[in-house]
């Protein structure tokens, strides 16, 4: 092909190197180009073909970044022409993500990302950062890497080597509750071989899918509704209602999306699930596809989870080879297959509609709702989107029945939940307990608080702080709501009284400032101004009443007028810290 395939697309004169072309060609082979000039008079192209391929933009940008350590003008042009995406739009997408850079790094070494969020911050992240730099490594301050149980955490973005997590190399995973007969979601963790389909089957794997095929879609969804299962990502939407709504949509392709972009500071449960029981996620997605009539499954996993990504990819290949995915998935008569997509460092892409935009090759900006994903989700089509923990509840519900499921937990919050224990506790890690367990009992289960408890961050950065006087709080949706806090994504991060909370709160405010997508004014500007006021507090030790009013004014506007949950929750931790007197010497 000579020259640009389509005259409409204007690109600069910059040319891609051979290495860049080769890297992109792996993801978008020449026969997959949006325009193919067969002869002067036969050109394959057009709007539909172009739209069908835009979702390859994110993988193509990943390929460039991995190949030469940045996305160069020439490389971007090559991708733009291949996919017929305007270069300005492709640049807008590339600049959205933390793991992509659009300026020449000036070296060809791997980059070590060091987490600086709360759990790592109090475990010496700054010192770790300094050590690594002194060793001559290229280091980068990173938001939460989802490894809070082994703080301070790091992640290596590889050049000439795969992306990896140094801590993975010598860690043999152990589930601290292994062997507990009460476990449901996490019962296979540390027991099953996560790389073996046979081992998964030996531990009860794919029994639920067989049962599901026997039951049929309506009975599956009825069982989910009766169980009272609600989403475990933070919003707690009833799963049965969601699946029913998608199942009722007719005449358009439908999707099942596993939201594996867990990025809420303090959250790592989904990583542990995916790394140690990856087939369970594939099986649950297949059940979701069968129940709702969706044929395509998508796993959107955060870019900082290389081991979970590798294990899921392996599980997909194995399941396909065994006929458990494909044209007749597990003999259900239903077509279902799964595609995996890596995020590239953006907290906001865990918001479901931002996640759709990210997969589709657009900036990860949340969409306004309504319409909701159940009618207008991925590619504008009906979509079930659940996170791994939610999906892993499906098998026990189908196998044991909703009554057994409801026998644990409370009336309004049935079942069990995974909690991510970190910070000042004896044995940080993932713990599965019945909903309704008290905060104090959960902390005891995790080895108790080391030192004297000062406060607990519940629900992550988007949650709020609670005081030691609230250890009796039953961990349920209804009780936390009544107490003005939230379970969020299951974060329980403890802080002993030796910890200065001011830098922690400053960092939480900075986190939201960094992670706001910038689309809507209340969040784009509000998170910046909130951080500035908290920095001022750190500098001065206290705040004048008009500054405290300002915090409240900003919090109300962000909660009321932002597009998505990021803005709605961006002030919870700051305000609760002020109310509890953790910062600013009381208020």
């Amino acid at each position: 092909m000579q020259g640009p395939a389509v005259v409409d697309l204007h690109v600069t004169v910059d040319q891609a190197s051979d290495a860049e072309r080769a890297a992109v060609d792996v993801v978008v082979p020449p026969d997959q180009a949006a325009v193919i000039v067969e002869t002067e008079r036969l050109v394959r192209g057009g709007t539909a073909r172009r739209r069908e391929r835009r979702h390859l933009l994110l993988p193509a940008l990943h390929a460039l970044q991995a190949e030469i350590g940045w996305i160069s003008p020439g490389g971007l042009n090559y991708v733009a022409e291949r996919l017929q995406v305007p270069p300005a739009e492709a640049y807008g997408v590339a600049t959205f993500y933390e793991l992509f850079r659009v300026d020449d790094p000036g070296h060809d070494q791997s980059v070590t990302h060091v987490c600086v969020d709360a759990a790592c911050q109090i475990a010496g992240a700054d010192a770790r950062f300094g050590e690594l730099r002194a060793e001559g490594r290229h280091v980068h301050r990173s938001p939460c890497l989802g490894q809070c149980e082994r703080a301070p955490a790091s992640f290596v973005q590889g050049r000439g080597e795969p992306d990896h997590v140094p801590a993975d190399e010598h860690e043999v995973f152990q589930h601290r509750q292994a062997g507990d007969p009460e476990l449901r979601i996490s019962r296979r963790l540390g027991v099953v071989d996560p790389t073996s389909l046979e081992s998964y089957r030996d531990h009860g794997g794919y029994e639920a899918l067989a049962a599901a095929v026997e039951m049929g879609p309506d009975a599956i969804i009825a069982a989910l509704s009766e169980s009272g299962l609600s989403g475990r990502g933070g919003a707690a939407f009833p799963t049965g209602v969601k699946w029913r709504a998608v199942a009722d949509q007719q005449g358009r392709p439908k999707h099942v999306v596993a939201n594996c972009d867990e990025s809420e500071p303090g959250t790592f449960k989904d990583r542990v699930l995916m790394e140690n029981d990856p087939f369970a996620l594939i099986e649950a997605m297949t059940i979701a596809g069968f129940a709702t009539g969706a044929s395509s499954g998508w796993i959107y996993i955060r870019g900082e989870y290389p081991r979970a990504t590798a294990r899921l990819r392996h599980a997909i290949v194995e399941a396909r080879a065994a006929g458990l995915l494909g044209p007749d998935a597990a003999g259900s008569g239903h077509r279902f297959d799964v595609e995996l997509r890596r995020g590239a460092g953006a907290y906001i892409c865990g918001e479901e509609t931002a996640l759709f935009n990210s997969i589709e090759g657009f900036r990860g900006e949340p969409r306004n709702k309504p319409p909701f994903p159940t009618t207008h989700g991925l590619f504008g089509e009906p979509t079930v989107v659940n996170n791994p923990e939610t999906l892993l509840n499906v098998a026990p519900i189908l196998l044991d029945g909703p009554e057994v499921y409801r026998s644990r937990g409370t009336e309004q919050s049935p079942g069990t939940r995974l909690f991510c224990l970190s910070g000042s506790v004896g044995a940080p890690g993932v713990y599965e307990v019945a909903l309704g367990t008290s905060l104090g009992d959960l902390l005891e289960l995790a080895g108790g608080v080391t030192g004297t408890l000062q406060t607990v961050l519940l629900g992550g950065a988007a949650g709020s702080f609670v005081g030691p006087h609230q250890l009796d709080l039953p961990l349920t949706l209804e009780d936390t709501r009544a107490a003005g806090t939230t379970l969020g994504s299951g974060v329980v991060m403890a802080f002993d009284d030796s910890i200065d909370m001011t830098p922690v709160v400053v960092r939480i405010a900075e986190f939201f400032r960094d992670e706001s997508c910038g689309q809507c004014v209340p969040c784009r500007v509000g998170t910046v101004r909130q951080h500035e006021v908290v920095v001022q507090l750190q500098r001065q030790g206290s705040l004048a009443p008009d500054r405290l009013d300002l915090i409240d004014d900003m919090a109300r506007a962000m909660a009321d007028a932002s597009i998505c949950g990021l803005g709605h929750t961006a002030s919870g931790a700051v305000r609760s810290a002020l109310q509890l007197g953790l910062i600013g010497g009381g208020s």
């Binding site: 689309q519 784009r524 007028a561």
Partner: protein, 281 residues
């Protein structure tokens, strides 16, 4: 038809109408920044939010479809607070000195954009952008940019389909940009100027206006606007020639005109210099 209640009075709108349409139908004036009736609503500025009974958060009136039985408040304390804060937030980091409409709403809602810098020793983040003057046709002053996305929409799907600009970066660092911030002449820009037409803050302006302002000679009160038909081709786009001191200083097109809905091409938008040429006689 859909019946809903806006500020206590019942209003009827056609199917597919938005809450904003309902507000307009009941003569309730609503501030908007990112909304234009020629563009797809992106609902990012959030200044048009209203309180909707049964909704946990406020909702953007510009994009929320009206439904039967909705009960909408446009002037409750919650609504006034969020609108005021949006205006304050923008005013605190963006130069709104040439955004007359926004200044009017800032006064209306009692917004105080200066209170952020005042308490922080002036140390607050602002847009902080140099004016981009890259040709003789128009300039981009992103110090005045409120990231309303209108220019991106006009350049892209909603009018021109040129896609020369997009939003790049993230959070408060997001900017309207060409790829790698290359200059306009190096970009895909075709100089239709449809981005200038939709800009609510004068961040995009004719070079002629920019030069006159710099010289202290920009006097809108002395300008006349003459409506005419573009002489270049047979489409029949209408032009509004803004004339000051017997010279055309900029050219716009009426939004409500059936032919182009406010859009023009490079010739209609910028090709008026021959009229000013003294040696034509």
């Amino acid at each position: 038809m859909i019946r809903l209640t806006v500020d206590g009075s019942e209003v009827e709108v056609h199917d597919g109408a938005t809450i904003l349409d309902a507000c307009n139908a009941s003569a309730v004036e609503t501030p908007t920044i990112c909304y234009a009736d020629t563009l797809t609503p992106v609902n990012v500025c959030r200044v048009c939010v209203v309180e909707l009974e049964g909704s946990r958060t406020l909702v953007p009136s510009c994009s929320r479809p009206a439904e039967d039985g909705m009960v909408v408040q446009t002037d409750s304390e919650r609504v006034r607070h969020s609108r005021k804060m949006v205006l304050e937030f923008l005013g605190s980091g963006v130069d709104l000195s040439q955004a007359d409409e926004l200044q009017r709403w800032i006064a209306h809602y009692g917004a105080d954009p200066d209170r952020y810098a005042a308490g922080a020793d002036g140390k607050i983040e602002r847009m902080d952008e140099e004016v981009r003057v890259q040709d003789e046709l128009y300039i981009r002053d992103y110090d005045k940019c409120v990231l309303c996305y209108k220019c991106v929409e006009a350049c892209g799907d909603d009018a021109q389909h040129t896609y020369a600009i997009a939003v790049a970066g993230r959070g408060h660092g997001a900017r309207i940009s060409t790829e790698f911030d290359v200059t306009l002449p190096d970009s895909a820009c075709v100089y239709c100027g449809n981005c200038i037409a939709v800009c609510p803050t004068n961040a995009l302006q004719f070079k002629s206006e920019f030069d006159l302002r710099a010289a202290g000679q920009w006097r809108p009160e002395d300008q006349t606007i003459t409506r005419t038909v573009c002489s270049y081709c047979g489409v029949g786009c209408n032009l509004e020639l803004h004339v000051q001191d017997n010279e055309i200083v900029k050219c716009t097109s009426p939004d409500d005109h059936s032919v182009t809905r406010g859009n023009l091409c490079i010739k209609g938008r910028f090709g008026y210099q021959y009229v000013n040429a003294r040696d034509r006689e």
